[in-house]
Symmetry: C2
Subunit: 349 residues, 2 copies
DNA sequence: CCACGACGGGAGAGCGCTCTCCCGTCCCGT
DNA sequence: ACGGGACGGGAGAGCGCTCTCCCGTCGTGG
């Protein structure tokens, strides 16, 4: 156990600044934190002393008494997976992650709060995470879960820890979250296909164990029922590009006359486009394709993908706001905020 | 300023556990941290008391005395950019980010160290970051910089803060880093094209203000010179897909006979492939394409991209190891570790 | 002219932990 | 049988900060 860092000299403390400024520790603290009124004259003296000594407040000491760490956990909860598997890469691939971080930072940074990155990929880790929070290492949690039936929301809720989810929880867990109006988003896609004159519309759905997958499929069914086609074809995919490719082939082999398809996410849509190209189907002439998410896959594919955009940055920013409010007052009611989606028209439909 | 969290009861402390176990605070600390020998009998009693009280050590208090936070900053340093610009999305897009995080975690997690995510997108933020470190909020820095002439490496180095870079610094800054043998990697690509019988080989280079861009172009020139073609054509791109697309068109308009091209990164290569497809050139029959990185773009493009793979996970893991060593002993010499690349043969060459 | 409140500043008690000292006990070797 | 060292445990200081409490000094109103 190292006692003290060799080579690194002792940093100036409040005490040092106080001595140098000829005031008490308390006064320096007041100036530094801007609490209460301090004589402008003294304020100046203290500020000079701070600058001169190069004082920077020690976070741990402050945390110890305020019980605030000014950092929150940014947790990605994913299914258990072998170490060498590219799953994790997939999780973070796509701009999704960046958009989340970007949105969070617009709110967190001005408040001086830092996100601590955590990957919850096993139940052991999930438990450890809850311990970490109880340890007061972090004030709260922003949780993005893509694990089927993730126990984490319930764990957090039970522990009474401030937390906000991206997307509604799988079960009836009392916890704050942000989400999009999934069905309305799907409507956008379906109505667009219909307005294009497509009459044989099908869907490539997401996995049934994800809320988004389920909601989007249900939305699709409802929307199609509204057009008198309650039995529109659907093939389930797994939200990956390869899955989309395979699903497209399956779909066409079962329903070769399909002329419009709603794909539950862009990555699968990209795969579907690849498959269509190889099968010699022209997009959008022979078959129109609409994706969901407006991820980077949408602009990486050819033709450019028409898709339903979710305002991820705004959602992330709202998550941060909800979380900070919850941290300020943990007795606060849980809340959920639902965002609207928009249709981004490109070439594929 | 909130005094104490309402609703949340006081957590058990060492003192509580000690009382409950009938031993001293020091003994409980020893058991919890596994330092020194403690009578197995007492150990058991203490452990039971810990479990019974639900004790979890308070991180801040521990940090205050050990001066270790057990968290490191994971900094992405990027050029300044307008708030609404998708730049950030681009930064984090692609699996690159995930591979870095994955690699880091394999080393950090077993040691109980957490990465704190930071985005350094302006000089103000960079300065703030250095302050944060001096504040002891984090023990060290893992820096991934894609900002041209980034001042951060120098700042960190001057401040004597433990830091490790991904990729060598732009200037002659004394700082630890991991990198790949860029030239050897480029050799792999060029030799492959040559072995395929290509005789009119060109390159789409990266920006000149990035070390990787420069190194790869220099490597290309050298390799081609080795084949008696010191003046092989090159067009500069900006590492984006659109840039690659444009560069490919430029290249073909200037050198229509090109039958092999080395592209300095996969994203540009993906763009190049798109352009070639639109221009009616068959890949690899008419023109062979080799990329660099083996990013997700390599498998998202058609035909699948032959590329030079950098072992990002291994590099990230090594960064973590270097950093932890540096944190343990800051007086340690700076070190750099260079990794080998491998050629991943797919369809495009 | 005095009482009173507002205000600016200081003193000091901890926050919860680690770690150095120190002390008692036991097991050696001589 | 005795001295010395190894070992296990306790006492207590102190990490650097915030915040409550208290006290002195004003300005103000009766």
């Amino acid at each position: 156990m190292t006692t003290s860092r060799p080579g690194r000299p002792r940093l100036p403390t409040l005490e040092d600044v106080a001595r140098s400024a000829g005031v008490s520790r308390a006064t320096v603290s007041r100036v530094v934190n801007g609490t209460r009124n301090v004589d402008p004259e003294i304020q100046k003296v203290v500020q000079e002393a701070v600058a001169q000594t190069g004082y920077v407040p020690n976070r741990a000491a402050r945390t110890l008494v305020t019980r605030r760490t000014d950092s929150v956990a940014l947790v990605f909860s994913v299914p258990e997976h072998p170490a060498d598997d590219p799953f994790m890469a997939r999780v973070f691939s796509d701009a999704f992650f960046g958009r989340i971080v970007g949105g969070l930072l617009t709110v967190l940074r001005p408040r001086g709060v830092h996100p601590v990155l955590m990957l919850a990929d096993s139940d052991a880790v999930r438990q450890e995470l809850v311990d970490n929070l109880r340890q007061q290492h972090m004030d709260g949690v922003v949780l993005v879960s893509i694990a089927p039936d993730d126990p984490l929301p319930a764990l957090l809720s039970e522990a009474g820890l401030p937390a906000v989810l991206f997307g509604r929880p799988t079960g009836p867990v009392p916890i704050s979250f942000v989400d999009i109006a999934q069905r309305t988003g799907v409507d956008l896609a379906v109505e667009h296909l219909v307005s294009l004159g497509r009459t044989a519309i099908a869907t490539i759905a997401g996995p049934h164990d994800s809320p988004a997958g389920r909601d989007r499929l249900a939305g699709f069914r409802d929307a199609m029922a509204g057009h008198g086609q309650a039995d529109a074809p659907s093939v389930a995919g797994d939200f990956t590009q390869e899955g989309g490719e395979a699903a497209m082939r399956t779909l066409l082999s079962q329903h070769p006359d399909t002329d419009g398809v709603f794909v539950a996410n862009d990555l699968m849509a990209q795969g579907a486009l690849l498959a269509l190209n190889e099968l010699g189907r022209r997009v959008p002439e022979d078959i129109a394709v609409v994706g969901f998410d407006d991820s980077s896959a949408a602009t990486a594919s050819r033709p450019l993908l028409t898709t339903v955009r979710q305002p991820v940055e705004d959602m992330a920013a709202e998550m941060a706001r909800l979380l900070l409010a919850l941290i300020d007052d943990p007795s606060q009611q849980i809340r959920s905020v639902i965002f609207k989606t928009t249709l981004v028209r490109r070439r594929s439909a």
